[in-house]
């Protein structure tokens, strides 16, 4: 940041998108809350419509906001310093995502290593086990809860295939990136497309696995702590893969339009970072949820 390299930092003029985004989040939060509250009622309220409206406004906002940013970027308003702001912002966003998953992994760790042994009478809880849950055996996966709900464990055959798919997709994305940096546009487009297809296949297989869990194994969101942690971890991971795929899809459209240069391609990089991040989360999910 010495003075010679100083370029003017672009401070955008007024923008309507933030307030539109705030209204969108209001409808999403209010709608989702009302929707969940009315789920088990005879007559469902208008929470669901509110939620859909919020999502629609959010997409409208994202489209408008990103259009502005892309236009600004294409007309060369962004200095190197601006680019750093975006990159650092994206990195810290990923840090916050890591902490979100850390909370979920922490819940799994606690349930498995502390809560369940204690329910079975470990540590100084012998009487808890003996008096409250005499028939309970503390094992993992917890197929029979202290309350008596039963389920079956998920195998790790299909997830192993899924792991391979995601790892390969990370590698193809890396090749797309090198393609971009060396200005080999064809390599960039094909590799990015392959990544996207692999991501969609992953999501499809996850969906198939969920059907299998519900229909064949009786493994449900409400089948005790094993089902809880299974679905919350794989579910939130799946949502993140879907989000990553959406980001990469729009990056792909921009690639087709000829955007990005070997030097400046923040949007591509952000999408790629995000994709690698969900890949790493998956590796942890694979080991702690399925294998161990």
């Amino acid at each position: 940041m010495n003075n010679e390299s100083y370029q003017k930092y672009y401070v955008p003029d007024q923008s309507p998108w933030p307030i539109v985004g705030a209204v969108a989040l209001f409808f999403i939060a209010m709608g989702a809350g009302l929707f969940v509250m009315d789920m088990d009622k005879e007559q469902s309220g208008w929470g669901g419509y509110m939620l859909l409206l919020g999502i629609a406004i959010l997409f409208f906002m994202l489209y408008g906001w990103f259009k502005n940013v892309v236009d600004e970027s294409m007309s060369g308003l962004y200095s190197a310093q601006m680019d750093r702001s975006f990159k650092q912002g994206m990195s810290w966003f990923i840090v916050s995502e890591i902490m979100f998953f850390a909370a979920l992994f922490g819940a799994l760790f606690y349930a498995r290593m502390i809560a369940i042994p204690w329910l079975g009478g470990a540590s100084n809880n012998e009487m808890t086990g003996a008096i409250l849950w005499p028939d309970f055996s503390a094992v993992w996966p917890l197929l029979t809860t202290p309350g008596g709900t039963e389920t079956q464990a998920m195998g790790w055959g299909l997830p192993a295939i899924n792991t391979t798919i995601l790892v390969i997709s990370s590698i193809t994305l890396h090749f797309a990136h090198t393609g971009l940096e060396q200005n080999k546009r064809k390599q960039l487009t094909t590799m990015l497309l392959v990544t996207l297809i692999l991501g969609v296949i992953f999501l499809g297989l996850q969906g198939y696995e969920y059907v299998h869990a519900y229909r064949d194994l009786g493994l449900r969101l409400d089948s005790g702590i094993y089902g809880n942690t299974f679905f919350i971890l794989t579910g939130f991971h799946g949502i993140h893969v879907a989000l990553g795929a959406i980001i990469l899809f729009f990056v792909f459209l921009r690639v087709l339009k000829g955007h990005f240069t070997p030097e400046k391609h923040f949007a591509f990089q952000a999408g790629a970072w995000y994709w690698h991040f969900v890949d790493v989360v998956w590796l942890i999910v694979f080991f702690v949820v399925y294998v161990l």
């Binding site: 940041m1 003075n3 100083y6 930092y9 672009y10 401070v11 955008p12 003029d13 007024q14 923008s15 309507p16 998108w17 933030p18 307030i19 985004g21 705030a22 989040l25 209001f26 999403i28 939060a29 209010m30 989702a32 809350g33 009302l34 969940v36 509250m37 502005n68 236009d71 600004e72 308003l77 702001s85 650092q88 912002g89 810290w92 966003f93 840090v95 995502e97 902490m99 979100f100 850390a102 909370a103 922490g106 819940a107 606690y110 349930a111 809560a115 369940i116 329910l119 540590s123 917890l142 809860t145 202290p146 309350g147 709900t149 969101l221 409400d222 005790g224 702590i225 809880n228 919350i232």
Partner: protein
């Protein structure tokens, strides 16, 4: 509108302000957004304060007089949520928005549009929270800590709205924190090296880091509360293999760093004010930076000291007891440095300095009762009594809130271009100082004698103290009206402020005119 404009366009209209409501809705200006955060925080301070008045009214006498227990519980809960997430945190974010770009010589925050989004989410989030109070079944009534199973099995129907409102508050905080970090890391003027940054910038950098680390954990735990209540999961239910104590672990992993989020910027403010009015450089600048960082790191290792009575292995309680006591060391370094800064200084006692001095004394009292609470066996006695209430109100009201008020008096001339009314300010200070102690000091005694918190009724022997506390509470509430009066008066006019405002003030923000121009440091200043 954010159509494409060239950089030159900005230069031509350097101090052009958009007008009307659009200025506030569509703004990308850190000063506008800072002002909105501060005004919002003040409004929420009075809404949350009104709830505290309801609580003190009910507790004025033993027995149930004014509100039913269910509503009393909603008042304690929403009072806590509003004061933490709606008053103290947005006030600090507002100060960060206003001051950090000026202090480091940046043209604005790094991501100005996202900055506006962060702000505008908040009014909507609190609208949702407040709406629940008027819905069938009422609002959240499980305490701001929403312990399971109070928030899952036994909570009322509107819990889902509480959960989603917390979610969007969290989104706002995380985006705000990202903006602060990126601004500080990437936008400092040439020559503004790390160890030249004002302490307010340092403390906010570390606060923003804490926010990014723990707000997602809060999001995780409210999500689990949501699924436990509405989707039949059993994270916090032993019958399904979960554990209610798991809730407390995750919540306090967020909650303890959260309380430092509410005090670290206060340290930065006091470290700015004391040197100005002592007319000396801050004593031990580097040690202040390291102490702040140490407190932040330790804050991740102390969470279970909120849970000594919930049943943990002895080894764990000992670990958390010692790490908690360790926090007293860097905090002591800070208090020592402030005192040493004043030592043989040429002191004057304008309102910001008075509040800063009150902060140092009263925050230290709150800190010392914190050390008492950290002692596991003693905590068995203090846990969930009014002693705890006294402790955290000393650090949050006479700590965090006093520092925010001090900051407002200190920087008001820079914001408005006018000096505030010193006489009224002093009146505000003395009324606040006396009433805050009438209000919170006797809580130590009733707490030690065993009065439980969050209960609308109490045993007869606590009656005199409680009447006394309530009177203190009403006086404190009334005193804050003087503050509003001072702010309005100062915004409307008054003696012209100079650029430097305070004789001993140093730093970039005192080199721009008062009021600060709409855009400052379009070209970065040179720092020697």
């Amino acid at each position: 509108m954010s159509t494409v404009t060239t950089a030159d366009h900005h230069d031509e209209h350097h101090d052009h302000k958009p007008t009307g409501i659009k200025r506030w809705l569509f703004t990308t200006n850190h000063k506008d957004i800072g002002s909105m955060y501060l005004i919002f925080a003040l409004v929420m301070f009075f809404i949350g304060g009104a709830m505290a008045m309801v609580i003190r009214l009910e507790l004025f006498q033993p027995g149930l007089q004014f509100v039913d227990p269910q509503f009393f519980n909603q008042m304690t809960t929403v009072h806590g949520l509003i004061m933490v997430f709606g008053a103290v945190m947005p006030a600090f974010t507002g100060l960060a928005n206003w001051m950090i770009p000026m202090m480091i010589g940046a043209p604005d925050m790094a991501l100005p549009r996202m900055n506006n989004w962060s702000f505008w989410i908040l009014p909507f989030a609190f609208l949702i929270l407040l709406i629940t109070l008027f819905m069938p079944g009422g609002g959240p009534d499980f305490g701001w800590t929403f312990y399971a199973p109070l928030s899952t099995t036994y909570s009322n129907d509107t819990t889902a709205l509480f959960v989603f409102s917390v979610h969007i508050m969290g989104i706002s905080s995380i985006m705000g924190a990202i903006n602060v970090i990126v601004t500080i890391v990437n936008m400092r003027a040439p020559g503004m090296t790390w160890m030249k940054m004002p302490l307010f910038v340092w403390t906010w950098l570390i606060t923003a880091f804490l926010l990014i680390m723990v707000m997602p954990v809060l999001a995780g735990v409210v999500t689990m509360v949501l699924t436990d209540k509405y989707f039949a999961t059993s994270f916090f239910d032993a019958a399904g293999g979960g554990d209610p104590v798991l809730f407390q672990h995750i919540f306090w992993f967020f909650g303890h760093p959260e309380v430092y989020i509410m005090i670290l910027p206060a340290f930065g403010i006091v470290s700015a004010i004391v040197p100005t009015f002592a007319r000396k450089k801050l004593f031990g600048y580097a040690s202040m930076v390291y102490a702040t960082a140490s407190i932040a790191i330790l804050s991740f290792l102390v969470w279970a000291h909120h849970m000594f009575t919930t049943g943990m292995p002895v080894f764990a309680t000992l670990f958390f007891m010692y790490t908690t006591m360790l926090i007293a060391v860097p905090t002591g370094v800070k208090v020592f440095n402030w005192v040493a800064t004043m030592w043989r200084g040429a002191m004057t006692f304008e309102v910001p300095m008075m509040f800063a001095l009150a902060f140092i004394v009263l925050f230290t009292i709150g800190g010392l009762s914190g050390v008492m609470l950290a002692i596991t066996p003693a905590d068995f006695q203090y846990h969930d009594t009014y002693f705890v209430v006294a402790h955290f109100h000393y650090v949050l009201v006479s700590g965090a809130v006093f520092s925010i008020v001090a900051a407002a008096y200190y920087w008001l001339p820079k914001w408005t271009g006018h000096m505030y009314d010193e006489k009224l300010g002093q009146l505000h200070f003395w009324c606040s100082l006396i009433s805050v102690n009438l209000l919170f000091f006797p809580m130590h005694f009733v707490g030690l004698a065993g009065m439980p918190r969050r209960i609308p009724d109490y045993a007869l022997q606590f009656a005199d103290f409680n009447a006394f506390i309530s009177v203190g509470g009403f006086l404190f509430g009334l005193s804050q009206l003087i503050f509003v009066w001072v702010i309005i008066k100062c915004a409307r006019g008054g003696e012209k402020a100079t650029a430097q405002v305070w004789e001993g003030a140093e730093g970039l923000e005192w080199e721009v005119p008062s009021p600060a121009p709409y855009h400052t440091f379009g070209t970065p200043p040179q720092i020697k």
